[in-house]
């Protein structure tokens, strides 16, 4: 198994380098620069400004300089926010986004797995139809609709929860976590239902039942391990997606997370910030995919022997 991990890490390095290079040239190709504003400054001013950030050097020289700094772990200064390094910005935004993603995935797993397993066990009853219909709705409902809806109900009509913020007012983390977790809960519910249904038809479950084990033990001890494999392999990319895709929720709820930095950097043409966050997110995706593969290997003896 170590070989598998080593191989994956060895592949990750060139992948990241390619991502960095592609992003570098793509952002430079986008029209407009980091210091363009609607009030044009005198050309000499712009020239001086470009000189400060080495933007007047030939592109390939800039590329070489950037890559040399990058392999030393230096993402450079942000163009948009003088005095802030990209590393500092990521380290400010990341804990917030991780916390949000953690709550969201927690909600998604608890709600999703409970609903999915119940639905599988009580197949074709109301306990199946109702949660699965809600799940379908959850998958279809975009966060930019669900978020404001929850805010209108709980924040403005009932006035029980704050409508925005993160860690400033009591309870302000509840609505964003639910909003972000909802869609994933719905996916997990459907995946765990499917996984459980398949497992419950397996011979070893029939054996367990024939031996006279009570139903809850059959499910918890025998069926869950196999039934949740699809959920686990979904979790890896899902966590990476949650962290990278929390932008909408962060905007709706005014949360100072990494997602907002990322998207705003693109609009601001903050070259170093775009590159830094892109490389960072790519590493995260690679890491979580690897992690979920390892867990799947551990959970599934068949896959283990194939590896």
């Amino acid at each position: 198994m170590f070989q598998v991990i080593l191989k994956r890490i060895a592949i990750a390095v060139p992948v990241l380098l390619i991502v960095a290079s592609l992003t570098f040239f793509l952002v430079r190709m986008a029209p407009g620069g980091p210091f363009d504003v609607d009030k044009v400054v005198p050309p000499q001013v712009m020239k001086n400004l470009n000189a400060v950030y080495n933007l007047d050097a030939p592109l390939l020289v800039q590329y070489k300089d950037y890559m040399l700094n990058l392999v030393q772990g230096d993402f450079g200064p942000s163009f948009r926010y003088p005095g802030r390094s990209v590393t500092e910005m990521i380290s400010i935004g990341l804990p917030v986004t991780l916390e949000l993603a953690f709550y969201a995935i927690l909600i998604a797993m608890i709600v999703g797995i409970c609903a999915g397993v119940t639905a599988a066990v009580k197949r074709n009853t109301v306990f199946d139809y109702i949660p699965m219909s809600i799940a379908m709705l959850g998958i279809c409902m975009p966060t930019f609709l669900l978020g404001p809806l929850l805010v209108l109900i709980f924040g403005i009509q009932l006035e029980v929860l704050p409508v925005s913020g993160w860690g400033s007012l009591a309870g302000d983390k509840i609505l964003p976590s639910i909003t972000l977790g909802a869609a994933y809960a719905a996916y997990i519910a459907r995946l765990s239902r499917g996984g459980m249904l398949e497992t419950l038809n397996q011979d070893y479950i029939r054996t367990a039942r024939a031996k006279g084990l009570p139903e809850h033990k059959v499910i918890i001890r025998h069926a869950l391990q196999g039934g949740l494999v699809p959920v686990v392999s979904f979790l890896g990319p899902a966590i990476a997606g949650l962290i990278g895709g929390s932008f909408v929720v962060e905007t709706i709820f005014q949360i100072p997370g990494l997602g907002r930095f990322y998207v705003e950097a693109a609009f601001n043409r903050d070259y170093t910030m775009i590159l830094g966050t892109t490389i960072f997110f790519s590493s995260l995706i690679i890491f979580f995919n690897l992690l979920s593969d390892i867990v799947v290997l551990l959970m599934n003896p068949r896959a283990r022997s194939e590896a």
Binding site: A30, P31, G32, G33, F35, D36, V37, D38, K39, V40, V41, P42, P43, Q44, V45, M46, K47, N48, L49, A51, V52, Y53, P77, R80, Y81, P82, G83, R84, M89, I92, G93, P148, V151, L152, G155, I156, L158, E159, V160, L161, P162, V163, S164, G165, W166, S168, L169, A170, G171, T251, I252, F253, Q254, P256, G257, R260, F261, E264, F267, R269
Partner: protein, 638 residues
């Protein structure tokens, strides 16, 4: 059964939380203002940032020589307790307040201003606002001498002298290859008795100038001469008149017209009478910074110094920086050392960078904000309809207009530009489309700006418009090419463009295509002249008609229309060299009439500021520059 318990438990939790006391409610006792501030500021260094959110923060934490009047009108004393102006309007003497202190206790002295202004004029700092100080004698020359190769500067000085232009700003542009003015440089060379060698094209020459290193000296002149300039030209004489000794190593900040007479007297010499100079001094680019603090965290030209961080930050305004959480909030608290601290009633202001308008609206409704930055576009007519008591719609120093590319083969015809302008029903646009109380604009300058009333008229006259179009050879719009309206992607701009498209189609029978682009792409296309008609807006930098009319002068980077009119330029030059305000406005009026009769820009409406404000906020008055100085604001509930 189990589920029922859970449900009840959930309800108990919710009721237990109860209706929470909103931040706005609890702010009354503590005098904490919750302020929706648009976006995260770029930073807090007054010499580096640009933008409105930064303005709100900096007027609370720092102070220039004057502050803007909360009720509009003339500026009030800031660090300067009084000032005197010489009869010719060119020399200002400021008497500084002896009680003015930095937040670390040091006194604010005249030398602080001299050093700070030198800082913003240091090219390697990369400030985007050095031109705010170009009104000062020698400031522009200092900026250029610091950043241009000396050989180029010498040539520049010579040309400026030879062509009797007082303006580096427009001419210096020629020396930077970004200006695509190859033909212009030839004209200038001729004006100065230069001739380019026949086999050299002017772009090559510009590139050569651009490549000259800063420290190249007189010894490099032969290279310059032989390779580029025709020997028969009176080049020897020219080189003889280049006074390198006066511009080379000797150039220093002493030549700039700002001088500390003593600790509390500052003398400023201006290039020409500048009636709005006092108003410029409340702009953050003219603010002083604390020299020792800045230098403790970097050199004079360090953009990335850490001196603006909480704990390090030292400034001289009514509030102090308390905390700065990126993308979350910035908190400032009352500064007890401020010279007018007894007048300050707020204890704290919390600035929230809420870029999403709908989020901001919800925050206001839930009592998390006292003041919002804007009202969402679609909410504005609804709130007007509902007579929402918190809604404010106030005149603002800005104009929404369309730029016309006068280099375009069809649009270069003035009659067509006028036809386009006369075929617009502006009243319909503001009533039916923008719907947020904006007044229709019939001039480029917003009416009533610093007492200036534009006297221009733009009729809505489809008949006249059609006849103008026919005169230009396109009767009934036949054979008229399809024009494009370029705008940056935003619902409001799209709606207005749609309305205009329809009006032009109906009134003139011409077809229009709408092209929307992401913000930066739109900017790049406008800048390079890659457009036909483009949506634009201009918010004045200072309260004077000049901030608008200056835009369309020759070689101004913000002109972008390609329109050049010598008469217009001369009128503005006259206006800005007189010290008689009545005469000055008369020149402005003539210039503006000329502008509207040529129509390189088509005014559409005058901007308004639309926002929501809690009735608890007192000491907040509407004014055209939308500046609400925090020292007059307090919270009180009737």
């Amino acid at each position: 059964m189990k589920f029922k318990h859970l449900y009840i438990a959930f309800l108990i939790v919710l009721v237990g939380c109860g209706k929470s006391i909103s931040p706005v409610d609890s702010a009354l006792d503590k005098q904490i203002l919750h302020f929706g501030n648009g976006t995260e500021p770029q930073g807090l260094d007054p010499h580096i940032v640009t933008g409105v959110p930064e303005h709100h923060l900096l007027i609370s934490m720092c102070e220039g020589l004057t502050i803007s009047n909360p009720k509009g009108g003339d500026n009030l004393p800031g660090v300067a307790k009084s000032w005197s102006i010489s009869p010719d309007g060119k020399t200002y003497t400021f008497f500084l307040n002896e009680n003015a202190k930095w937040s670390n206790g040091d006194p604010v002295i005249a030398e602080d201003f001299v050093w700070s202004w030198m800082r913003i004029l240091t090219p390697s700092l990369g400030s985007q606002y050095p031109d705010m100080l170009y009104y000062i004698e020698g400031a522009e020359r200092y900026y250029f001498s610091e950043s241009l190769p000396l050989v180029v500067l010498g040539l520049l000085e010579y040309i400026v002298k030879a062509s009797k232009l007082s303006d580096y700003h427009s001419r210096a542009c020629i020396f930077i290859n970004k200006c695509d003015l190859a033909s212009d440089i030839e004209d200038l060379l001729n004006a100065g008795d230069f001739t380019l060698r026949k086999d050299i094209d002017s772009n090559q020459f510009i590139k050569f100038l651009d490549d000259i290193q800063r420290n190249d000296t007189l010894n490099d002149i032969p290279k310059f001469d032989k390779n580029f300039i025709e020997p028969k030209a009176s080049i020897v004489d020219i080189i003889g008149t280049w006074n390198f000794s006066s511009i080379t190593p000797e150039i220093n900040f002493n030549e700039v017209g700002v001088q500390a007479i003593d600790n509390h007297t500052l003398k400023v010499n201006l290039r020409s009478p500048t009636p709005f100079f006092i108003k410029l001094l409340s702009h953050y680019s003219t603010y002083p910074v604390h020299k020792e603090t800045v230098l403790a965290y970097g050199s004079i030209d360090d953009r990335n110094g850490q001196w603006t961080r909480p704990g390090n930050f030292v400034c001289n305004g009514p509030m102090n920086l308390k905390s700065w959480e990126l993308n979350k909030q910035i908190t400032v608290e009352k500064n007890p050392l401020y010279w007018d601290a007894k007048k300050v009633r707020l204890n704290e202001i919390r600035f929230y960078p809420v870029s999403n308008e709908s989020t901001e609206d919800r925050m206001f409704r839930a009592g998390q904000l006292h003041v919002t930055n804007v009202v969402p576009l679609e909410k504005c007519p609804v709130y007007i309809e509902e007579k929402n008591p918190n809604l404010r719609i106030e005149p603002y120093m800005g104009t929404y207009f369309y730029r016309v590319n006068t280099k375009h083969p069809v649009l270069k015809d003035k009659r067509i530009r006028l036809a386009l302008a006369y075929a617009l029903n502006r009243e319909q646009i503001v009533k039916r489309v923008s719907k947020c109380g904006q007044p229709a604009a019939y001039s480029f300058t917003p009416p009533g700006l610093a007492g200036y009333e534009p006297k221009t008229k733009i009729p809505y006259d489809p008949e006249l418009a059609r006849s103008l179009l026919a005169e230009a050879g396109y009767a009934n719009g036949d054979n008229f090419p399809t024009l494009e309206i370029l705008f940056n992607t935003q619902e409001g701009h799209r709606k207005i463009a749609l309305a205009i498209q329809q009006m032009w189609q109906e009134n003139l029978g011409i077809s229009i295509r709408l092209v929307n682009q992401e913000w930066r792409v739109y900017l790049a296309r406008e800048m390079t002249g890659d457009f036909q008609i483009s949506r634009a807006g201009w918010i004045g930098d200072y309260e004077d008609p000049n901030t608008f009319l200056d835009l369309l002068r020759l070689n101004r980077g913000n002109n972008k229309t390609g329109w050049e009119n010598v008469e217009y330029d001369q009128l503005l030059e006259l206006a800005n060299s007189t010290n008689d305000q009545v005469l000055r406005y008369e020149y402005f009026n003539q210039a503006e009439k000329l502008l509207i009769s040529e129509m390189p820009i088509i005014p559409i409406y005058t901007y308004v500021r639309q926002y929501q404000i809690s009735s608890d906020v007192k000491g907040w008055y509407p004014n055209i520059i939308d500046t609400h100085h925090p020292k007059y604001i307090y919270l009180e509930r009737e």
